[in-house]
């Protein structure tokens, strides 16, 4: 049954191959993208059910016993992330159908989209550090092309910055890998978790950990390594921005959580202090960057950074409650932020621009859109009873229990500034009259269906996760306990006691 773990990788791979074979038929490719993502979601749900009920699952590829072969391991944390990958993959594939830029599709948009999902699913399910590097590269090269496809001036600039910084990050990651292998003689994460503490070299191990912090920090857009994100996320079509913000930076956060709970725990006083500072500065700089922006997608990109600070804070505090909060935050942030980016795409269609100074009047012209935006924006700012509130509440409580009052104050202030920039979008895009007195453009029924369908699902999730936070919170707590007690994970991979 553990062979189930191959499905989230195999299904997108098959979808990508099928899309390549049907190169000329964009209509068939669209159907394949949607079907592939749906298959990924179903297989992820099946895995999640087993993992949540029966504990971590592992499978050795090629039946080579760990640590010699490549292990795939899924614990509760990975399982939830896999489900989010499938869900977002499906919703964005549907949203894509309603977008305008169909000329890109003949240049391989669909195969790359499936390859991207495969890379993300692989990164979430691998149990081997080098294999993680390979999945990162699969994901990155697909994202490079998705970003550059179309070749407009801002896009090329954004893609260039994104590609260069990510290549540096990969080089640093590989440096860390090489030194880890030199030190421990293995790259299987479960095996490393057993080997690293026996080396009696906590200083060296921590140094390696910090090398990984920089490498993953670039991918996750942490302070001070985040500049590529607001320079590139607003350039491609909205559907690409949504999938990037939903999954790519989250893979960085996932990798950080994985290595700093499983491998680099020997000197918590050093690593946790650095993580706390980085988390605080990421939150503050992200939200301050957002305040000055007028372009809707750039503003939202800065909020991605600020929110990643919160997720890192959960890791930095390192208690069961804070780690559960990190997972809860990841899930709800994927829903909230994707909804907001999707709204920005519809705003562009209906009001003619992303620039807040040039649009307006959408409250009258598009009441449904306004309502959806309002719910997602309030959730982002952390207003009860929406999902963002519970995520921040758990983090703040974990901070207070640990006596970290300073960082709690920062987190709350950042919440207020978030609310400020959401109010700005609301007032400019929705409440004020359109500066040129233009009425909102109405969408065709087909476009409206595929643009609003995913949006409604996401906002419904934001509301449901807020009103009934219990079940997800329980799963998150279970995931946090697994992260803090890695014996289960190690036993699943290496077997034995």
């Amino acid at each position: 049954m553990a062979n189930l773990l191959f499905l989230p990788i195999l299904i997108p791979l098959l979808a990508a191959i099928a899309s390549v074979l049907l190169w000329q038929r964009t209509r068939a490719q669209r159907a394949i993208s949607v079907a592939g993502a749906a298959g990924l979601l179903i297989s992820a749900l099946a895995i999640a059910e087993r993992v949540i009920l029966h504990g971590p699952l592992a499978v050795q590829s090629g039946n080579w016993p760990a640590p010699f072969g490549i292990s795939l391991v899924v614990d509760t944390f990975s399982a939830v992330m896999l489900c989010m990958t499938g869900l977002m993959g499906l919703l964005v594939a549907v949203y894509r159908l309603g977008e305008e830029h169909h000329s890109r599709e003949v240049f391989g948009y669909h195969p790359l989209y499936s390859f991207l999902l495969m890379g993300v699913a692989g990164a979430f399910s691998t149990g081997d550090l080098f294999n993680l590097y390979v999945w990162f590269e699969v994901m990155l090269i697909s994202s490079f092309v998705l970003l550059a496809l179309g070749g407009k001036r801002p896009q090329i600039e954004g893609a260039f910055k994104y590609v260069s910084i990510n290549l540096v990050s990969s080089a640093l990651f590989l440096t860390g890998l090489g030194l880890t292998y030199g030190l421990a003689g293995t790259l299987n994460m479960a095996d490393l978790a057993l080997t690293l503490p026996t080396l009696n070299q906590p200083g060296l191990v921590t140094t390696l950990g910090l090398l990984f912090l920089v490498a993953f920090g670039i991918k996750a857009a942490l302070f001070p390594l985040f500049f590529w994100l607001p320079a590139s996320y607003h350039t491609p079509p909205v559907s690409v921005t949504v999938i990037f913000s939903a999954l790519l930076s989250k893979v960085g956060v996932y990798a950080l959580v994985r290595v700093f709970t499983l491998l680099f725990t020997s000197q918590p006083e050093v690593t946790q202090a650095i993580l706390t500072w980085v988390a605080g500065l990421t939150m503050v700089t992200g939200v301050l960057g957002a305040v000055t922006q007028h372009e809707m997608r750039r503003l939202l990109s800065f909020h991605v950074i600020s929110q990643i600070g919160y997720m890192l804070l959960g890791l930095a505090l390192f208690t069961p409650l804070s780690l559960a909060a990190t997972l809860y935050f990841l899930v709800q942030h994927i829903c909230t932020k994707s909804a907001l980016f999707m709204v920005s795409g519809v705003v562009r269609r209906q009001a003619g621009s992303f620039d807040l100074r040039e649009i307006g009047g959408l409250y009258r012209g598009a009441p449904l859109l306004s309502g959806l935006f309002l719910l997602a924006a309030l959730s982002l700012a952390g207003i009860p009873p929406l999902s963002g509130f519970w995520a921040k509440y758990a983090l703040v409580r974990a901070g207070l229990e640990g006596g970290n009052y300073g960082i709690v104050i920062v987190a709350l202030l950042v919440g207020i500034l978030t609310l400020y920039s959401m109010t700005k979008i609301w007032a400019e895009a929705f409440w004020k009259k359109h500066p040129k007195g233009k009425e909102a453009t109405q969408l065709t029924p087909a476009a409206a269906r595929s643009l609003f369908g995913p949006l409604v699902v996401l906002v419904a999730l934001v509301v449901v996760l807020g009103l009934a936070a219990g079940p997800l919170y329980e799963v998150a707590t279970q995931a946090a306990n697994e992260l803090l007690n890695p014996q289960l994970y190690i036993r699943a991979v290496l077997g034995g006691s």
Binding site: E100, P154, S164, V168, L177, L179, G182, L183, E295
Partner: protein, 124 residues
């Protein structure tokens, strides 16, 4: 040999980062290439150098006996080289396209994404 390689790796890292900090995008790509070589050699060295003892199981035996050269770093490097080749080929095409679209290879000129694109610029 180990010391020599260590010095070479250090030099390659230094040169790579120096080139990355230059303003010309061509030099930036060269920097990325140098960095890639530095990393590959580092992985090679981190696996320890064992000369003249290939990891081949002798006829009639079922396992390797020490000393033998560790084959794993070589497998890792092989993978990294292939990936690096693909990614750098893409990067080279991208800088060519960047130069064509923007008409400059000076990174200081590439700041227009910080400004709003002119109306109609991103229309399909």
């Amino acid at each position: 040999m180990t010391v020599l390689l260590a010095v070479v790796i250090g030099l390659l890292y230094t040169l790579g980062f120096y080139m990355l900090l230059r303003r010309s995008i061509v030099k930036l790509i060269i920097g990325l290439g140098l960095l890639g070589h530095a990393v590959n050699l580092l992985v090679f060295l981190a696996g320890r150098l064992t000369a003249g003892v290939p990891p081949v199981v002798p006829l009639g035996e079922s396992a390797l006996s020490a000393p033998y050269a560790d084959p794993i770093p070589q497998a890792l490097i092989l993978t990294a080289i292939v990936i690096g080749f693909g990614v750098q080929a893409f990067a080279v095409v991208l800088i060519k396209r960047t130069y064509e679209v923007l008409g400059t290879d000076d990174l200081n000129q590439m700041v227009s994404t910080d400004r709003e694109p002119p109306p109609g610029e991103d229309e399909e």
